[in-house]
Assembly symmetry: C2
Homo-oligomer: 317 residues x 2
Amino acid sequence: MEAEKKQIRYDVAIIGAGPAGLGAAIYAARGGLKTVIFEKGFVGGQIVLTAEVENYPGFEEPVSGYHIVEKIKKQVQRFNAEIKMEEVSAISPEGLCKIIETDENTYRAKTVIYCAGAYPRKLAVPGEQKFTGRGVSYCATCDGALYKGRIVAVVGGGDSAVEEAIFLTTFAKKVYLIHRRDDLRAVHAIQDKALKNNKIEIIWNSVVQEIEGDNAIRNLILYNKKTEQNSSLAVDGLFVYIGIIPNNYLVESRIDLDENGFVLTDDNRQTNIPGFYAAGDIIKKVLRQVVTAVSDGATAAFSAEKWIRDHSDQFPE
Amino acid sequence: MEAEKKQIRYDVAIIGAGPAGLGAAIYAARGGLKTVIFEKGFVGGQIVLTAEVENYPGFEEPVSGYHIVEKIKKQVQRFNAEIKMEEVSAISPEGLCKIIETDENTYRAKTVIYCAGAYPRKLAVPGEQKFTGRGVSYCATCDGALYKGRIVAVVGGGDSAVEEAIFLTTFAKKVYLIHRRDDLRAVHAIQDKALKNNKIEIIWNSVVQEIEGDNAIRNLILYNKKTEQNSSLAVDGLFVYIGIIPNNYLVESRIDLDENGFVLTDDNRQTNIPGFYAAGDIIKKVLRQVVTAVSDGATAAFSAEKWIRDHSDQFPE
């Protein structure tokens, strides 16, 4: 059966059709490279789950993540990049080339741009899915400004959770920080700031058990692990900061990662393997946003084009 | 008179209202920072000179640079960032703060994001200005794809000129490389590729003396410095690659620059001075495009917000 699978050759194979992958495809295809994007789920990545994006530069009014991504997708198609709805199961080197195996075929590409993304760890409680994008958020930079003068809660106890709780006091009149233990994991300097901030109230030893509401969030049902009691907390929004998980399983054996599993890249967005790039939420970076993802993708594609040109003598025809 | 000047305090002062400065302003102002942008010329930067942009992600049809920038500018205004049409004459430290002097006032800011841009060195010949954006280009990544099957010329002899000449052979049927000397400055490996490429013809010892045309470029008038003869060369486009000049004069005494005068930044887009950031074409980077500029700006603003929060105890009220 293996022999029946074809080997189709591309200049660049992009893994993942989120903003990074689509941004890469625009620059790669427009730069004259034969370009394919592989996507196992849906085109657009995490941002399509967001009802209102107001900080992607170029859209003066708030629009849905889906709207932005649809426009970028049409742009990709205009430059004749292929989008294949196939799940990649393995990527392996073959000389300077890379072999990409999917559930349907085998492909050979001169370069790979890995844009498989990352996702926030979920609470996995009733109401979370229903209210995602309508009160439940995993990104204070994205959604904090929507809570001016309102009451929000943050779940978590690490640096990110505590920092975002402090950041949210810029907008919200009250920020509850819900933590399952009786001390924070965040570094001391950050803890101090949170403890001194009179808008922040820490709710210790507690977990969110359920999220209640109608069109929007109204209440959290909390469970106190010490007292073993339930209680209800009225909030307008809930920010979940209990970790972000990179989709690195296709590359973790070969590509250098940081201690949290994010892909390490240089300024060209190249990984430790020549001709193998990464972009978007999957990489170690300062700010995970649509605009930084498409920018990473553009840089990776530009670098890939140059790398192919520099090695043009060494590829088999 | 000096005493009459007011000191007005901002969280962040952005120098330059191109895509990087506007991108920074969206993220800074939306992040709750009191934000001002200083601009000495016109809002939008170099990109407003471009008639057709087809690779900024989110615009499925080609649009003018002006159109994109107008949309981003409205977004900036929605978040109440101020745009002041004042020319900055000096930036100096005062403890953790930065003092910004303009022709009209003196301002104090906790952070600066320097987005003063860069500009391509011009040929300074008749026709250049008239045909800029209509056949004369300074960016093959931006405009190369517009010359499918056509004839273009590149001016220059360094790495960029020769690399872009090779890149342009992806689209153009013929690429003339016009160089004023009888050997190229580009590194050998790149030269070799150009010399072997049968779409590239090098015109040695020659300079462009005039650009002729009607609605579009038709001819270049060349002057051969050896033979002292003029000649005419029919082309559809001219790519000028004779250097890019960073607008670094306000920072060159204090900020670390690379050997070409571009500002060095870390992954947070911070310079060697804490709380002093830079973004866009002014920084050392792989790819100078609108999308990478707005992304840099967003990252710088995000970093500035965090830096102010981390140092909140240390600023005078």
